[in-house]
């Protein structure tokens, strides 16, 4: 197939960008969720949500 290497690099790039963002979003969400839980448990009335 003609120009297959260009196609390969385009889709590789798309997946690197999307997977990287999804991963960073998941890590940030996990970190901030545990931070909120920790802070809420310190509040008077504690773990009531």
């Amino acid at each position: 197939m003609k120009n297959l290497n260009y196609l390969f690099w385009a889709y590789t790039l798309i997946w690197i960008v999307l997977a990287g963002y999804l991963l960073s979003l998941s890590i940030r969400l996990k970190a901030i969720s545990s931070q909120v839980r920790r802070l809420k448990s310190r509040l008077p009335g504690g773990d009531e949500g």
């Binding site: 197939m1 120009n3 297959l4 260009y6 798309i14 960008v17 979003l25």
Partner: protein, 234 residues
């Protein structure tokens, strides 16, 4: 805000399953079902992810536009969180457009980049919203960041209709995918695959947006609790 977070989590779960099914199916259609385009060959398949990326980038900037207006009208932080989240995603998908466009252009036009109207206006849009994100980090306080970025978000979005009509206005040589009348010159199977990719990318965008808004809301909760702790001397 906790109710919104719970709603977002449910929304995310539903979207995740939809995207998990549709994304592999879209890739299967792009690489196994659609035939090669006659003149461009295999490289034309970039179009199936390039155009949907552009569509969701514009959708993201439209969300910024609407949320920014709503923030300035109501001063509710929720709208600022939505605008900020959508701007981040808009920049992400616009970057994909600006990366994949030159990869397509090199074998088809014989050059990686040309200062053609649509390319230039898209690059301007990307730079405006990168500036939007940088501006937020430089503001003196939360309210100033929200107010200034809302103005930039509204003004920045005005570039989107310019990009859309740039090919007609300045007679650029960027291919026109959508025409106001007549066919698109796509084979029915190519059109179906293209619409499938558009749907998949829209759902994927909504999933990322829901996750990013939830992140923003949790950050607001953290700063509220910290503020309360400082005020009460806890």
């Amino acid at each position: 805000m906790e109710r919104t977070e719970r709603l977002l989590r449910g929304f995310e779960l539903g979207l995740f399953f939809l995207v998990a099914v549709l994304m592999p199916f879209s890739l299967y259609c792009v690489f196994r079902v659609v035939p090669n385009e006659v003149t461009m060959g295999a490289v034309q398949r970039i179009f199936y992810f390039h155009v949907p990326s552009a569509w969701v980038a514009f959708l993201g900037f439209f969300v910024v536009f609407v949320s920014s207006i709503l923030y300035l009208a109501t001063r509710r932080l929720l709208w600022d969180v939505v605008a900020h989240s959508a701007a981040e995603l808009g920049v992400l998908f616009c970057s994909i457009v600006l990366f994949t466009g030159p990869i397509w252009a090199r074998p088809v036009w014989g050059t990686w980049w040309t200062w053609e109207a649509r390319l230039t206006t898209t690059l301007v849009l990307e730079m405006v919203f990168v500036a939007y994100l940088v501006l937020r980090t430089q503001a003196e306080n939360r309210t100033q960041a929200a107010r200034l970025s809302a103005v930039v978000g509204i003004v920045g979005f005005l570039d989107v209709p310019i990009i859309y009509y740039s090919v007609q206005i300045w007679r650029g040589h960027h291919p026109i995918v959508f025409k106001s009348s007549g066919g698109q010159g796509l084979e029915p199977i190519m059109l179906k695959t293209f619409m499938l990719c558009m749907t998949t990318f829209t759902l994927f965008f909504l999933l990322l947006l829901a996750m990013r808004i939830r992140l923003g809301l949790l950050r607001e909760s953290v700063s509220e609790i910290r503020q309360w702790e400082t005020q009460s001397g806890a």
